[in-house]
Symmetry: D2
Subunit: 458 residues, 4 copies
């Protein structure tokens, strides 16, 4: 029987980062590996294939790329676009080709998201050069294209570059080419990604709104776009240029009973409470930050500091490993402690805890109708807010909240709100930690408010 | 190499039910199998052994025994004590012996907990008859002995029987015999079990308080004892006498979105919210019952009804299987639905939710000092309450709460309390579902109150 | 965040059967489920989705479809093409459409492989009707098209029907449409499948040789084609028309020690030795059939009988479950025994065993050069044989061997050969079981012979 | 509910090494950790406990102890008996006591197996000092006692020491004390271990033959005893005194196709073929060593060299991880390659392979009766051989074979034999690799011969 060709997607939840193991028979490549990279080694082993090449589609800002860690395990070569080669990688340029059994990967320079962005075109040599799939990195997503706001003073230039990459490099590959981007729905690298991870260049050409814009419209649109830029991105850039600290295994946080955990907090432990927003609302330890497990990749990077040790609070021990994976992917390796026995141990020790009352959309509606005096703090992004919001709401984006606390009145009750009730709970935890006394939270948030018939603006 | 003898404990969490796979080479027995019995088949398969005999140490009241299900899979014979043989089993009597390779299991009649209670004495025929371990069912536990309150009008008689079984049958086996009971710490079948699952007859003889009592003291003590008797025990008795409905696989509850879930509730779906007490406190759906996942075996049996379909609310899909296992072990097979998308889906749909404010031990102390008017409802068992409680507390055991709601004043705020804050949250959910408006809950409960220096009585 | 659309492939190894779970948010469909169908229930549960519809692309001949089993678990409706609706299903016709969140599945009648063959066209209603993917059943594969030899007296007619389905129904959907067929590489349902499971209609239009043929060429080619037809196909047809026996769990074969296993063999147990070909060559139990684990789906159906109980020999207990899954997928549910302790237990019991000497390609070459008198039995298919073979080889297809034993001389040594050494080992085991005394086997077979420079014909 | 006390056994197969995680609530100790030590971290995490202390019962010779690796992960202190403290550990002496919640571990000096041997006595402080279990290291096993042949010139002395440790230290702890030794059945550290891993001091006192000997009888017996001493023990001693190289993760062998694998062999790769003995007999690559997966811990240490890279041949990719674990536990970290595609890939590449004909006990009997001229090579240990053997057999212990090849006639056919057919296959592979041309192997070996009625001596 002929040897199998394989194309496996490895999705890292939260960041919605998509990496790929692709190969034929005994030879395989990995595209954009994540830092906890055993998964590629194990899958390749399961197929009897060795990983000979690692490709980085560009220098990532949102996660630590695992190329060096994977190289130490496999001896594979690391390849990066010539425009800004990572210090530990080899340079590749347009047209370079690599063989894996009968599969071929050909380099296509597709700058725009970054100057060093490349795409990799997959073909099956049994059928000649005809492309079969394209790994487009952050150039083209399902339903969206990459962001171009990393070079604020060259916005027009990079937007135009991206337009050219899309229309003169990628789309000409053909309608029939399978699209393999570096992010799926939920990524912070695009704002409009479809909630779907299967598409082709032909389907995108017809239905991806960004691809249907003319050049000028596109450049204008992209030049106006503003995405969030969490502070941890700076460290990611450095790590992905110079190489991150090697990671041979996940950190091992120590389970600490309440007294020792409290002592560690006093010595500077920064505590992430990874339980659900509802559980945090029900009872939490003063000073801790609410960040539900699967929200860590999207939001923890706004608040954690690289020079402070991290502590965790979880519902069940099984959740610790997920939290560790999320954290090391952002380079937060110093996870020292986990609260042994969880909230129950803290509570039964007689220590203080607090809670955040949850208000419903109907409560909000009644308050607004009654003219109650309170601050309605909407922590969604400015674009979301602009689209539609409740009258009288104050908008401070969650990521900006720590730096804009002085804009929030301390003499009135505050109710936080977002789209669904998750970011608003994180915001409430920040306010609580910074001494705001009367904080409530609106589960369901804007989605519920629409169903409940709250008045809307925007 | 000689074939291995094996003695594996299979623990069912929550009930703290201990069952055993014991054998040598290709032959094995199972003692007190649980209903979801694949685990024995798989472990025996892993050892290359076939299960030829199943032993029931007695007719259980607290869970559905899996003998028939395991028999249908393996063809093994089922054996039960002669005093009250289950309809589907064969009778065994004192001295009957069964061989599994070189291992032997010998029947010892050890009535007291029930009339049909037997123990099984394990020996290694290579060394003659000398006992090596004893499977004592509910006669002897680590740190405790079985309850004897199932025959209220014969309390003295059965207590005396148990004393005889312990002192004239089990202890004479020898100090060196390993103890293998049917329950570990956390069981509702004893009140004083040690938090430890390894012991010997010799260690128990010295340190198990019940074994150190003289006969009269023992009989008097046991005759006064009163354990809880959840209503589902009646169904268990019938099932374990006549045989339960066959279970070939776990039920498959349908994920229903909020609208469909709400409709099902209106048609009679009884909903268990298996999230943490803190999450329930933070936000819950009116009318649902709080029963944290691992508390299902201990408490759900007080509230569920066999003729109503059951719905589940969980934090993560992985928790569904655990909930199903817990439920079928008690014979609750009609689990029809699970809320798709969990609480978030409900909240964002704009539907109403409620919350239960958490108060701390310090809050309670201040209220008591200030003479605040509220009902402090302590839902621990009467014995726990008698030992120590807060002044002014009203004691209604959690299991009795549904039947004693009229004892609780509706015109004052209520704060529920137990030992740690778990049972009190279940109680709070019952009060809420029955229309009590102002209900708060005290996480940490008595344990926290002791640390916080609350005044105590008892 | 918007709800996720999902399209998951569930591959059943060996048969290379591909089934799909597709859906959006809380609603999902399964296309061509396999009989051991927990996988769909678990995946849907993991996504919080309920399976509301099951589609059969056609009446399968090569495996038991799991529609009824999945329906009993989920309550989903079963749909089948109108031309020959399965007894337990509802009829669907061209243009019928079903919604799963924003995803749509539209029925396309694509007869040819069978009269009742349908394809299902997936679209994302957010973007209108434009097709995104097509589930083509056995009409179109990656690199091949479905076989059309099930109606020997209507070969031209069905080939023409298939041509029409391909060119007038499927290809017009568009170049950009993702191809989701019912089989991948390794299936017995096509002879030319690519060793790759990702493609699009556009890529196939250009590179699939069958699609590049003109209508007449295609009809002529397909009308001449002859595929294998294992005897178990007849039972599959009946099962998939009338409904197979329900399967709630896998069978539980009993581990039997050598004596009991031998007794069972004497009473009619048919024994599959699922170890590697090399292990069988090294030592085997007389009368057992070599069928390496992953070859069970392809070859066991030629030899097993539905009215005889089956016994298994495996290397490690973990392999039993795989063997059981393979067997029930073909409707072989009566798996009663597994040899406890494996070959070692048999050998150390002093029972007889046999072995098959392995010869290398170089040995063969030397024998041929020396004119040694022996039968070289090539058990590949007639087409493979015709393409190239060793001079003097006798060709009897493995599947035909039991019925053509009288063509093989019993007075000379026999060396079996195939493409790689796997089918030839199965053949050797059949010859041994039927009393051929001097049987050798050529590992590496034709592939090795080509490397070793053996003379070739054809 | 009170916090749980736990006592978990972690068994490392092959070596039958038993290590323990023991603790109460949030504090735990590990006794004799293995080198791939994630298992302790994960289990402790699952219980919410942190590992604070690591105990080494003695300096091991047969595996690399994982204390340092576990310390780097957990920060725990390492403790070792005062008589010869490992360089990285702290010294403990008789009577030192350590608390883990309410559990206590008390040091008992029990020299004899080594001078630094300690036992650890477990008690539950709730019940005072009464011992509950004893971790006896290599002093006392189930059915046997530790070997005392590591100091050939002080045999009497150390045997007497051990007798004293057993009778004056361990047995006086009491009949009721649970026995927790450092090895179970199958270990190379004792010759008479029971095939059972549950016992008590009382049961051992009565039935362990070594404990029933008087002092002089015991010293005499032990002074005469001779165990095998594989060459890798020297490296273990050094590693366990000075500290082994740190191991953060398992090695990652590269899957190499036949050509590359052959090249690596030519450059010095030492190849372990971990398939079954039958598979090796059926076909093997010239020059490779047969060592069935689960025999690696017992036998690979006789043949592997620390300064040569290792290659693996396995049946299925899942077996690679097990092989790696076995190898690193003996300090063989340089595992560089695995044959991609296994034997099939090698065979179909046209490369040479060989096989070893299997003969049955009946064949042997006939040959002996017929006076056939051949060497019957029995590779069991001298004691096994002395007990009973076939007439005319030549005894060379498997471990000594490489150094005693000149004792084996090269001019006659050889048939290897052991107890069951496993060691004899390893021996056959060594003979083949060293150029012996006519080698056969007897599956079933002595066990089969007894059943087959072969003549016996001894």
């Amino acid at each position: 029987m002929p040897k199998t060709m394989f194309l496996e997607t490895v999705k890292s939840e939260g960041l919605a980062h998509l990496s790929y193991l692709v190969g034929h028979g005994e030879e395989a490549a990995v595209i954009d590996p994540r830092r906890d990279c055993e998964v590629y080694v194990e899958r390749a082993r399961g197929r009897g294939a060795r990983i000979t090449h690692i490709f980085e589609t560009h220098r990532n800002e949102d996660y630590v790329i695992g190329s060096s860690d994977l190289q130490r395990r496999t001896g594979a070569q690391i390849h990066h676009g010539a425009a800004q080669v990572a210090d530990y990688a080899q340079s590749v340029s347009e047209g370079d080709e690599f063989a894996f059994g009968k599969l071929r990967l050909r380099v296509l320079e597709t700058p725009g998201h970054t100057y060093d962005s490349i795409s990799l075109v997959l073909s099956d040599a049994s059928n000649g050069d005809d492309p079969l799939a394209a790994f487009t990195g952050d150039a083209l997503f399902v339903g969206d294209v990459g962001r171009t706001d990393f070079f604020p003073d060259r916005r027009q230039e990079v937007a135009a570059l991206l337009h050219e990459s899309l229309h003169e490099k990628l789309l000409p590959l053909g309608e029939h080419v399978i699209l393999c981007p570096a992010h799926g729905a939920g990524s912070v690298c695009g704002s409009n990604l479809a909630p779907r991870e299967f598409s082709t260049l032909g389907y995108e050409r017809r239905h991806n709104e960004r691809l249907r814009m003319g050049r000028d419209e596109f450049v204008g649109f992209k030049a106006r776009e503003n995405h969030h830029f969490p502070p941890y991105f700076h460290t990611m850039e450095r790590y992905n240029q110079e190489g991150a600290p090697p990671l041979d295994r996940l950190p091992v946080p120590q389970p600490l009973p309440p007294q020792a955990f409290e002592n560690a907090m006093e010595r500077g432990l920064m505590v992430l409470d990874a339980r659900s927003p509802e559980a945090f609302a029900g009872a939490f330890i003063p000073g801790t930050l609410c960040c539900p497990l699967d929200a860590i990749p999207s939001y923890a990077g706004y608040f954690l500091e690289y020079d402070r040790p991290i502590g965790l609070i979880v519902e069940r021990p099984e959740e610790i490993e997920s939290a560790l994976r999320y954290l090391v992917r952002m380079g937060f390796d110093d996870v020292q402690a986990v609260l042994a026995g969880g909230l129950t141990a803290w509570q039964t020790s007689g220590r203080e805890f607090d809670h955040v009352p949850a208000v419903t959309a109907r409560d909000l509606k009644e308050r607004m109708e009654a003219g109650t005096d309170f601050t309605l703090l909407d922590v969604r992004g400015a674009e979301e807010f602009a689209e539609q919001h409740l009258p009288g709401a104050l908008n401070v984006y969650l990521g900006d909240l720590p730096g804009r606390l002085d804009e929030i009145p301390r003499d009135r009750p505050i109710t936080t709100l977002c789209s669904s009730g998750m970011r608003s709970m994180i915001a409430a935890s920040i306010l609580k930690a910074r001494g705001f006394a009367r904080v409530e939270e609106n589960f369901g948030s804007m989605q519920a408010c629409r169903h409940a018939g709250c008045p809307m603006e925007g």
